[in-house]
């Protein structure tokens, strides 16, 4: 571990993956909230032919050139999706699936074609499939930092517009905000976030970097700003964690490792996050069930007492057992009601409502009528 942190190559790789995780976390939050997670998947797959074409045309493997190619192809894919959904009766998910597979297919054909080139300069392009963090050099990191930084600046500048666009585009439209251009802008930022991660994470799994940190972050907060920040941190940590693991063990592909790290965070978040987590949900349900059961017993005592002149008329446990067959639960509930002072135990061993219990019953019945 220490030897890695001191290592220049590793520091470069960690910095690169941290930055790309941060950017994809931020833009991913908006994509997830706008239900555009699958658009991210389509864009990343669709970027592959762009990488191939950029290389064929320029013969260069400079990160910026390949990223521009990938970005243009990814962006073109979103336009094609838009055109298909607005001009034909094909639905959004159909258009996404179609565009994803067609573009990805062309990309694979181009990569195979490039591999037959006589010189060896094509080596490394296939790392775009599953990602290759170890190949990150200083020049890549600088490119990632500049593009990602620009995307974040735009996101912050138009924060409130993007927020309204994501929550209620129709209302934004009624305020004569340029909704279509804002939509295009936010989608373009998403394309940038995807493109800067392609070489490291790979086209196949890049969409997980968009979805996972955001999905995990949503579990922990109810505030958009906080959600974006948490998502950025999760993205960065997953990026560094995955890069660290895949660099320290040979033959461990970077993309899948990063994605597994992010997925781990999602799993933990879905289970233990307060309020939205599964554990929390289960506790709440159990408590609610217990409360409803004890209310039911109280109301049954109320019903039984109504047949007598006084609400203090006691009834034996056996009478309640008819309605609450689980004896141990019934006894526990009776004891709990007793400790709350809602019922009293009679010398004969019967149970009766106290005045407070009576009032509670009236309150409950009132609420039900309303």
């Amino acid at each position: 571990m220490e030897q890695f942190l001191g290592d220049y190559t590793f520091r470069t790789v960690a910095l690169g993956t941290a930055i790309l995780g941060t950017i994809s976390g931020a833009l991913g939050a908006f994509a997830v909230l706008r239900r555009q997670s699958l658009l991210g998947d389509a864009v990343s797959h669709a970027a592959l032919p762009g990488v191939g074409l950029a290389f064929i045309i320029t013969g260069s493997k400079a990160p910026l050139i390949l990223m521009v190619g990938a970005g243009l192809a990814g962006w073109l894919a979103t336009v094609v999706v838009l055109v298909i959904t607005t001009t034909t009766r094909i639905k959004y998910d159909g258009a996404l699936g179609f565009v994803l597979s067609v573009f990805f297919g062309i990309g694979l054909v181009l990569l195979t074609f490039i591999q037959k080139f006589p010189d060896a300069s094509q080596a490394g392009l296939d790392s775009f499939l599953f990602g290759q963090a170890a190949a990150l050099v200083e020049q890549d990191v600088i490119t990632i930092a500049i593009l990602g930084g620009l995307a974040l600046v735009v996101l912050v500048l138009f924060w409130k517009e993007f927020k309204l666009l994501s929550f209620d585009p129709e209302f934004a439209n009624s305020l004569v905000l340029p909704v279509r251009r804002l939509d295009l802008g936010l989608t373009t930022l998403l394309v940038v976030a995807i493109v800067i991660g392609l070489q490291t994470v790979g086209v196949v799994l890049m969409s997980a970097m968009i979805i996972a940190p955001a999905a995990a972050a949503r579990q922990w907060t109810d505030n958009l700003g906080t959600m974006v920040l948490v998502s950025m941190v999760i993205g960065a940590l997953s990026g560094v964690g995955g890069a660290l693991l895949s660099t320290s063990m040979s033959n461990l592909p970077t993309g899948p490792t990063i994605v597994l790290c992010a997925s781990g965070v999602v799993l933990v978040s879905v289970i233990i996050a307060p309020r939205r987590g599964l554990v929390w949900e289960q506790i709440r349900r159990t408590l609610q069930a217990r409360r409803l059961r004890s209310e039911a017993i109280l109301l049954d005592l109320f019903e039984l007492a109504r047949k007598h002149d006084s609400y203090e008329h006691p009834h034996m446990e056996a009478a309640l057992k008819v309605m609450h067959p689980n004896a141990s639960t019934l006894r526990r509930q009776l004891r709990s009601l007793h400790s709350k002072g809602l019922i009293s135990v009679h010398s004969t061993g019967g149970w009766a409502l106290t005045e407070e219990g009576m009032n509670t019953c009236k309150g409950l019945l009132d609420k039900r009528v309303r």
Binding site: L157, F158, K163, N173, D222
Partner: protein, 244 residues
């Protein structure tokens, strides 16, 4: 009395069939108008057309004699409650502040003045104590009141509301009706898509009966008749109390 909204020969069509067909409508300034009609009559579409949210196939709409774009800041919109995701990570205050985004302009963030205004609007709909609630924790009626508060901060001259009374509790209904009266007393023009024929006469003074075509419009006392209702609902309408 001058007209706040004038609609001429408006036709809106999705694919082949018209949703609104050759609508002419005058909404008097300061009027409180209900839009009623069966499902699919084009009530929401009419509101959206006035707000320029959809492009009509033909016809034109003038608001205070001008196209929507130039008077957008004078028009407040209360969309249907179900049109947004209420699990969105934001607070009641944030949603109300969105009503001021048009006025704030680019880049500027809402500040203390805007928060004060939003708080006043929330107070007006009885939601001040919920300002910092997450919106997913609200009941349907409370969601509706938040949307109303968001329109109120727009301080508009015309309010267009899509089914604000749909499925709300009694408290919310009372609050909204009081609010409509207040808006009217301030000289605002209000159009409300409404579904409860029983209450049209007591809540509104103008009514538009709509079923793809304009069946009738004008003062409730004149046009809210059984004959017109039959024309609107195609004879499927049962006894209407309060219809003259």
């Amino acid at each position: 009395m001058a007209n706040a909204i004038e609609v001429r020969d408006l036709t809106v069509a999705y694919r082949e069939s018209p949703v609104l067909w050759d609508i002419d409508l005058d909404v008097p300034s300061g009027g409180l108008m209900a839009i009623v009609g069966p499902n699919g009559a084009g009530k929401t579409t009419l509101i959206q057309a006035i707000l320029s949210l959809i492009k009509p196939a033909a016809g034109q709409i003038r608001i205070f004699g001008q196209p929507y774009r130039s008077v957008a800041s004078s028009v407040g919109y209360v969309p249907q409650r179900g049109s947004v995701d209420w699990d969105f990570p934001t607070s009641v205050m944030d949603v109300v502040l969105m009503g001021l985004y048009g006025r704030l302009g680019w880049v500027r963030r809402p500040g203390r003045n805007e928060r004060t205004e939003a708080m006043a609007a929330l107070d007006q709909v009885g939601m001040a104590e919920y300002a910092h609630r997450q919106i997913s924790q609200l009941s349907g009626g409370q969601q509706q009141r938040v949307f109303l508060a968001r329109a109120l901060v727009q301080d508009a001259r015309i309010y267009l509301m899509d089914e604000p009374l749909q499925g709300v509790d009694a408290t919310t209904e009372r609050t909204i009706i009081e609010l409509l009266r207040t808006l009217q007393s301030l000289g605002k023009t209000v159009m409300v898509v409404h579904h409860d024929l029983q209450t049209v006469s007591s809540y509104f003074d103008e009514v538009l009966l709509l079923n793809v075509r304009r069946i009738a419009s004008g003062p409730v006392s004149e046009v809210f008749t059984e004959a017109n209702l039959r024309l609107t609902y195609g004879g499927r309408v049962a006894i209407i109390k309060g219809a003259s």
